[in-house]
C-alpha cells in the first residue's frame, strides 16, 4: 500500500471553497428568484453578491492555476471508446460488481465522463453564470458601458438556466462522488487529505482516473 498525492493543496482549497460558495449561491439565488423565503430578499441578494465576487476571484485564481501548471490538460476529452467504456460501466458494470475501467493518478484524476462533464462546467455553465451574473451586478451602469439597449429579462433567463444546470450537476456529482468509491466515502476522504491509498491489485489502466 502506497500513498500518492492526487489532489494538491490548491486544488482542494479550490474544490471546497467552490462547493461552499456554489451551495450558498444556489440557496440565496433561488431565494432572490422567488422560489422560497429564507433570509429575506435583501440579505439573500447581499449574500449572493458577496459569494459571487468571492467565487469570481476564486475562478480567476483557478484558471490561472490550470493554465500555468498544465492541469488544464486533464480536461482534454477522451476518445469515444473510452467514453463508451465509462458509460457501459455506470450503466452495467457497476451493477455487476465489475472493477472500475480506469484508475486515477496525479495526472489522470478524471475519468472520460468526468473530463467531459467538468470541461462543460468550466467552459459552458460557468461562463453562462458569470457573464450573466456580472451583467446583473452592473445593471445600474449598463448605460455607461454602452449596454443601454439590453434588458434584464434575457440576462435573468440565462442566469437562471445556469443555476438549474449547476444544481443538476451538483446532484449527480454528489451521488457519484459519495457512492462510487471502492471504500465507503473514499473519494470524500481523498478530497480532504489529498492522498489516495492505492491497492496493488486494482490498477487496470493508469491512463485516466476514476471517481
Amino acid at each position: 500500500m502506497a500513498r500518492t498525492l492526487l489532489y494538491s493543496r490548491f486544488l482542494r482549497l479550490w474544490h471546497w471553497l467552490q462547493a461552499l460558495l456554489v451551495i450558498t449561491l444556489l440557496i440565496t439565488g433561488f431565494e432572490v428568484h422567488g422560489t422560497f423565503a429564507l433570509f429575506g430578499f435583501e440579505k439573500a441578494a447581499d449574500y449572493h453578491q458577496f459569494a459571487a465576487w468571492t467565487l469570481l476571484g476564486l475562478w480567476v485564481a483557478a484558471w490561472f492555476w490550470h493554465l500555468t501548471t498544465g492541469e488544464w490538460k486533464q480536461y482534454i476529452p477522451s476518445k469515444l471508446g473510452r467514453l463508451l467504456a465509462m458509460m457501459r460501466y455506470y450503466g452495467l458494470g457497476i451493477f455487476k460488481g465489475e472493477p472500475h475501467p480506469f484508475h486515477k493518478d496525479r495526472w489522470h484524476r478524471l475519468n472520460p465522463l468526468q473530463r467531459m462533464a467538468y470541461l462543460s462546467l468550466h467552459v459552458m455553465i460557468g461562463p453562462v453564470i458569470w457573464i450573466s451574473g456580472l451583467l446583473y451586478i452592473f445593471y445600474p451602469y449598463w448605460a455607461e458601458f454602452g449596454l443601454a439597449g439590453l434588458s434584464l429579462e434575457p440576462v435573468a433567463l440565462f442566469h437562471t438556466i445556469g443555476a438549474f444546470l449547476m444544481l443538476a450537476f451538483l446532484i449527480v456529482h454528489l451521488y457519484l462522488a459519495l457512492t462510487t468509491s471502492e471504500k465507503p466515502l473514499g473519494n470524500l476522504k481523498e478530497m480532504i487529505t489529498g492522498y489516495e491509498e492505492i491497492e496493488e491489485q486494482s490498477a487496470p489502466d493508469h491512463s485516466e482516473g476514476a471517481a
Binding site: 432572490v32 430578499f41 460488481g97 435573468a156 443538476a168
Partner: protein
C-alpha cells in the same frame, strides 16, 4: 473583464458590494460615532418672528362689518397682495396645464366626490380664498373679495361657514343648520390684529377636509397632520422636525410651490440651491438630493432612485394618523329611506357613514396600502362637457408613464373609485346640482333628472333626459405622511411573487418575475436527476445483495 469592471467601479467610488461597504463603515462608525450623534440632533423649524405688531396698526382697530372690510384694511398697507393672489390657482380655481394644455382647476374639472363646483357654488366656495362666490357670476377681479384671514389668522377662531360662499358667519349660527352646534361669530378685530404667517391649521382648514370631511379626499392629508406623531409624518412631527406646510411648499408673492395637476414626478435637480435650481422645495430631492441613502445604507437603495419615487418606499401606507379616508363613493344608491320613511344613514362602528341618503354608499379605509403605477407627471383630466367612453371604467384623470421613459418613476396612488351619474345619450359626465335652496337641487328633491338638468344648464350643456351611473376612478399621487425611515418598505415588499408591484408592468423584476416555462423545465430536470440517481443507487444496492446471495 471582471477585474476591469471592479477597477471601473472602484474608480467611480461606488463599490457595488454592500458587504465591504458596511465593513468599512462599521469601523468608521465606532470611531466617529459620538461626534455624529451630536451633529445629528434635530433642529426644529423656528417661526421667524414678525417685525410688525398688527395690533398697533390704526387700520386694524375696527370695528369691521364683514370680511371684505378687513381685506380693505389689509390692502391699505399690503398694496400688491390681492393682485398677487388673483394670479394664483387658490383664487382663480383655474389652471392651465402646461404639459397637456388642458384648462383645469376646480372651476373646470369633474371629480368623483361631489362631482363639480358649478351649480353648487356656495357650498364648494367655503373653501375658496375669497368672499361671495355664490354663483357663476363672481367677480374675480375684485380685490376686496380676497379673504386674507383664512390663511393668515393665527387665533384659530376664524372659520368660513360651510354654506357661506366663503364668508364666515357674522352672527352666531348653527352647523349643521337647525340641529348642530352654534358657531359663534368671529371677532374680526381680534383676528385681524393677530394675523401672521399661515400655519398648518390654516392650510388644513381646506386641504385636510377636501371632499366634504376630515381626510375624505386625499388620505395623506387629514386633521391628524395638525399635530402629527413621528410615525404619521416624520417631517411635521411636533416633537421633532416640526415642519410647516411652507417648509416644503415654498412661497413667494403668494405663489405656493407644488401642484397636483402638473406635478414634478422626477425632481432630478437634486438639493435645491438658490440661484442654481428652481427655489422649490416641494420635492423630496430638494433637500435630500438624488442619492439620499448615505454610505451606511445598501448601495442598491440609491440605485433605485432612477425608477422609484421616494414616497413609494417611504410612505408605506396612507391614512396612518387615525382617520379614515374615503375610498369608494357610489352615488347610484343615494336617496333611500328607512322602514319608518326617514332618510337613511348607516354608520360603522367608528361613526363613519357607510350609507348616507344624500350621497349613497361609501367605503372608508385607514392604513391603506397605495396602488402603484408608472408616472411621469403628465395627468389628463376629465373636464366639464368632455365626452366619455362608457364601455368601461372612466378615468376621472389618466396618468402617463412607462418603464422606458426616463422621466417616469413608480409612484404610489390613492385610487378613489365610485359610481356617478352621466348622460347616457350624450356620453358626458353629469354635473349634478346637489346643493341649493331651489327644488331642483338633488338634496331637496332627490330627483336625479332635475338635478342633472339644472347642473347641465349651469354649465351651458343640454341634458338628453336619460341618465345612468358609471364607474369612475381617480388617481391621487400620495406624497404626504412620510414615515420614519425604520418604517420604510424593505426589498421584500416588492421583490416577491405577489408583492406591491405585482401589477406594475413593463420590466423584469427579480423575486417577482420568472419564466414559468424555464422554472418548469428546471424543476423537471432537477427532479429527474434526483430520480435518476436514486434509481441508479437502489439498483446498485439490489444488485449487490443479489451478488452476495448467489
Amino acid at each position: 473583464m471582471s477585474i476591469l469592471a471592479i477597477a471601473y467601479i472602484m474608480r467611480q467610488d461606488k463599490l457595488s458590494d454592500a458587504f465591504f461597504h458596511r465593513l468599512g463603515l462599521l469601523t468608521l462608525t465606532w470611531l466617529i460615532g459620538p461626534v455624529g450623534l451630536v451633529l445629528s440632533l434635530p433642529v426644529s423649524a423656528v417661526d421667524d418672528p414678525s417685525t410688525a405688531d398688527h395690533s398697533k396698526f390704526e387700520q386694524l382697530q375696527g370695528p369691521f362689518a364683514d370680511g371684505p372690510s378687513v381685506t380693505k384694511a389689509c390692502l391699505s398697507c399690503h398694496t400688491e397682495a390681492a393682485k398677487q393672489l388673483h394670479k394664483t390657482t387658490h383664487w382663480t380655481w383655474a389652471f392651465d396645464n402646461p404639459v397637456t394644455g388642458q384648462k383645469l382647476g376646480k372651476k373646470n374639472v369633474v371629480n368623483n366626490f361631489c362631482v363639480a363646483t358649478a351649480s353648487n357654488w356656495p357650498r364648494c366656495t367655503s373653501c375658496h380664498i375669497g368672499y361671495g362666490w355664490k354663483d357663476g357670476k363672481f367677480d374675480l377681479t375684485d380685490e376686496t373679495r380676497v379673504d386674507c384671514l383664512v390663511c393668515h389668522d393665527t387665533t384659530g377662531s376664524y372659520k368660513k361657514y360651510p354654506t357661506g360662499a366663503g364668508h364666515p358667519n357674522y352672527k352666531p349660527k348653527k352647523w349643521p343648520p337647525k340641529k348642530g352646534k352654534v358657531w359663534p361669530a368671529p371677532d374680526l378685530v381680534k383676528i385681524a390684529q393677530g394675523v401672521g404667517k399661515p400655519g398648518r391649521a390654516n392650510c388644513g382648514a381646506c386641504h385636510f377636509y377636501g371632499g366634504g370631511g376630515d381626510g375624505v379626499k386625499h388620505g395623506h392629508l387629514d386633521s391628524s397632520m395638525l399635530k402629527p406623531q413621528k410615525s404619521t409624518d416624520v417631517h411635521m412631527d411636533v416633537e421633532g422636525l416640526n415642519f410647516n406646510c411652507q417648509t416644503c411648499h415654498t412661497t413667494g408673492g403668494h405663489e405656493i410651490a407644488g401642484s397636483r395637476y402638473a406635478p414634478d414626478a422626477t425632481d432630478d435637480q437634486g438639493i435645491d440651491v438658490p440661484g442654481r435650481t428652481n427655489n422649490s422645495r416641494a420635492s423630496c430631492s430638494s433637500c435630500h438630493g438624488t442619492t439620499p441613502h448615505g454610505e451606511a445604507a445598501n448601495p442598491k437603495l440609491d440605485q433605485h432612485t432612477d425608477k422609484i419615487a421616494c414616497v413609494t418606499c417611504h410612505v408605506p401606507k396612507f391614512a396612518r394618523g387615525g382617520r379614515k379616508t374615503k375610498m369608494y363613493w357610489d352615488w347610484s344608491t343615494a336617496g333611500r329611506k328607512d322602514q319608518h320613511g326617514k332618510p337613511l344613514v348607516i354608520k360603522d362602528a367608528e361613526g363613519y357613514d357607510t350609507y348616507n341618503f344624500k350621497k349613497g354608499d361609501f367605503r372608508w379605509e385607514a392604513d391603506v396600502v397605495p396602488e402603484y403605477r408608472w408616472f411621469n407627471g403628465e395627468v389628463g383630466h376629465q373636464t366639464i362637457g368632455a365626452k366619455i367612453d362608457d364601455s368601461g371604467v372612466v378615468g376621472i384623470n389618466t396618468i402617463s408613464g412607462t418603464y422606458d421613459d426616463p422621466d417616469s418613476r413608480i409612484w404610489p396612488f390613492k385610487v378613489m373609485r365610485g359610481r356617478q351619474p352621466y348622460d347616457k345619450q350624450n356620453k358626458v359626465l353629469a354635473i349634478p346640482h346637489l346643493f341649493g335652496k331651489d327644488s331642483d337641487a338633488y338634496w331637496k328633491s332627490f330627483d336625479w333628472g332635475r338635478a342633472i338638468k339644472a347642473g347641465f344648464e349651469a354649465t351651458g350643456q343640454e341634458f338628453s333626459g336619460e341618465h345612468d351611473f358609471i364607474t369612475t376612478e381617480y388617481y391621487w399621487p400620495v406624497t404626504h405622511m412620510v414615515a420614519p425611515k425604520e418604517e420604510a418598505l424593505g426589498c421584500d415588499a416588492c421583490h416577491a411573487r405577489d408583492g406591491r408591484l405585482a401589477d406594475v408592468k413593463g420590466f423584469y423584476m427579480p423575486g417577482r418575475d420568472r419564466f414559468e416555462w424555464l422554472d418548469m423545465i428546471g424543476a423537471l430536470m432537477v427532479l429527474g436527476t434526483l430520480g435518476g440517481v436514486s434509481v441508479h443507487g437502489i439498483g446498485r444496492i439490489l444488485a449487490s445483495i443479489r451478488r452476495r446471495n448467489s
